[in-house]
Amino acid sequence: MGNLFWKIFLWFWLTLILIAGAVSWGTAIYLQNSDAYQQRDLRSRYINNRIELLRQVIYYGGEEAASDVLENKRLSSRRTTIYVVDNNNKDILGRSIDMDNATLQKHEPVEATDGETYQIYSTQRPRTRNTLTRMLRPFQRSPGIYLVWLAIAILLSGLVCFGLAQYMSRPIRKLQVAAKKLSQGQLDTRVSDSIGNRRDEIADLGQDFDLMASRLQSLVNNQKQLLSDISHELRSPLARMQLAVGLARKKLGPDVSTEMERIEQETERLDELVGQSLTLSRLDAGAVYAKDDFIDIGELLESIINNCDFEATEQKKKVVLTIDNSWTILANGELLHRALENIVRNAIRYTEVGTRVEVNLNQQDKTHFKITIGDQGPGVPENKISGLFEPFVRLSEARDRDSGGYGLGLAIAKRAIEFHKGTISASNKSTGGLLVEVILPLGEVQK
């Protein structure tokens, strides 16, 4: 139930309730008004009847009888006041007449049998209730029943909106989950099947998503395949080259030995790079390496750091190892060694001259231990951190042009650590520099 679900649900529901309310209200007012119209019609007929009656009374009974009729409450109306004015221009009941009253109506005068002529006027009192109370009147009649209907309407519309919101938000939620999976590297993620038999824009979106995913998958696979193929193809010429260099060295003698050494060195570098990219390809392809070496993690780190220390010292950098406890785990020694060595070498490369790289080994929880490698270098821009473990990533054109970028080291490290069911993550330290954290399971072997 995501945000979208609630948004659709609540907005539709609210809209439905509002529309239903407005419609029923409007209808009620309309009905009432047409009712009122009829009533007004009735009313004027009623008044006319009254006045006709009064005229008869005046005609036959004169002023006295008229006074009786006017004073009789049962014959009077709350809203209509009838005045009978004699020849002296006075109301027979002595009431004063407001001649400016807008509702004042003059009726046909009557000449009584006694010869006197009477004028008849009537006034209407205005309605006392204001517009709002009039508008709310439909609801006031029987609030109990109305509330029940209201509750039923809200409930029903709620159910309908719930269904609608589900129908609309569920496939989008599925798409979102799929997109996330895809972004995390699960390139075989597809959604069409799980969206169901719909025929609408969302279904189209799902199909397009699948199309995109399969295209992405084939592109990534092609790229990986290309790297793997190139590396494979490079092996044979490289092997011949190494032999040729070896032979040349023998034939040429010591005169050109520096140059030969250089060629040999570069060949070895190429060889190393090819080996690395082949390892990466194999790990990416999910190849299984034997995990049959019992590795003492503390000793492994110590040996890596001893190897790197010479190099570091040359660059006026230091590597410091802190070990709380050590464990022996069943692993592929070569892969694990390469993974950790790559991370340490990377840290040495980027730490500032005169600073130190700190390597720590300690227990994470009952079943895992943690290795942290922190340098005092420039760190990595936050948005580039996730790309750090991709092959040949360059963090910034300017800075990495000299150093050649992060190459394959960290990419291999990540895959090798994951092969050992561990996790690797990188973050910028608050004090500056990059911190790489490796968490690995202890497995069954413990010491």
Binding site: S236, K250, Y289, D296
Partner: protein, 238 residues
């Protein structure tokens, strides 16, 4: 492929004879030239089938065998050769590939080298293998010491007439120790010959396998297999 086969037997009988089986013709040529300059006598063939024929036709001191070959790969060649042919074999494996060293050892490979490799490294390995095989006594059908009987051909070990349920690594360790019974075998040798890998400071595999082996031998007090601190292990002759 016999036209590519160069046989130079007359030249020098003291030279170690090496057979190269690799499908890369140019590489073979250069490798032969390099090895010849290192005082080896070299023959070369370019596919597995010819390799098996050649290896059986002539007595070699060592065979350099490429694993990745069309038609018949290196492991198949090795399977054909063993156990009748005991010539030491150095396998050239494809770099970046993980090979099951233990399986290779069981099949009788003597060393591995990832290809491409530095030719100097290859020469060093060939020399090391030659040294090892020249020093080592010929493979016996049965090694007996005390109540232990080890049969290398069937890779079985018996203790007081009951077969020991050993893993490959444990068997290999026991066999290496038994061949030099009464002598201290250092960890480097044990690692290379029994586990097929170079010993590293952080690798506890030998200790681990050894402790399991002792359990299976009922050697809890470490009388049969003794630890010689700082040196290695020793199987006592009793």
């Amino acid at each position: 492929m016999t036209e590519d086969t160069t046989i130079n037997t007359k030249e020098n009988d003291q030279k170690s004879k090496v057979l190269i089986i690799d499908d890369d013709v140019e590489l073979c040529g250069m490798l032969a030239e390099y090895l010849e300059s290192e005082e080896f006598s070299v023959d070369k063939v370019h596919d597995g089938v010819a390799g098996v024929t050649q290896a059986q036709a002539k007595k070699y001191d060592a065979i350099v065998l490429d694993v990745m070959m069309p038609k018949m790969d290196g492991f198949s060649v090795l399977r054909e050769l063993r156990p009748t042919n005991v010539t030491p074999v150095i396998m050239l494996t494809a770099k970046g590939e993980d090979i099951d060293r233990i399986v290779g050892l069981e099949m009788g490979a003597d060393d591995y080298l990832p290809k491409p490799c530095n030719p100097r490294e290859l020469v060093a390995r060939i020399k090391a293998v030659l040294r090892r095989t020249q020093l080592a006594p010929p493979i016996q059908d049965e090694i007996k010491t005390g109540e232990l009987v080890i049969m290398p051909k069937s890779r079985k070990a018996f203790n007081a007439d009951t077969e020991l349920p050993l893993t490959s690594s444990e068997y290999n360790l026991l066999e290496v120790l038994a061949r030099q019974v009464g002598q201290v075998v250092d960890k480097e040798t044990l690692s290379e010959q029994a586990l097929g890998k170079k010993l590293t400071a952080y690798d506890r595999s030998i200790d681990m396998h050894m402790s399991k082996l002792r359990q299976k031998l009922g050697d809890d007090d470490q009388q049969l297999i003794q630890t010689v601190r700082g040196m290695g292990y020793q199987l006592t002759s009793k």
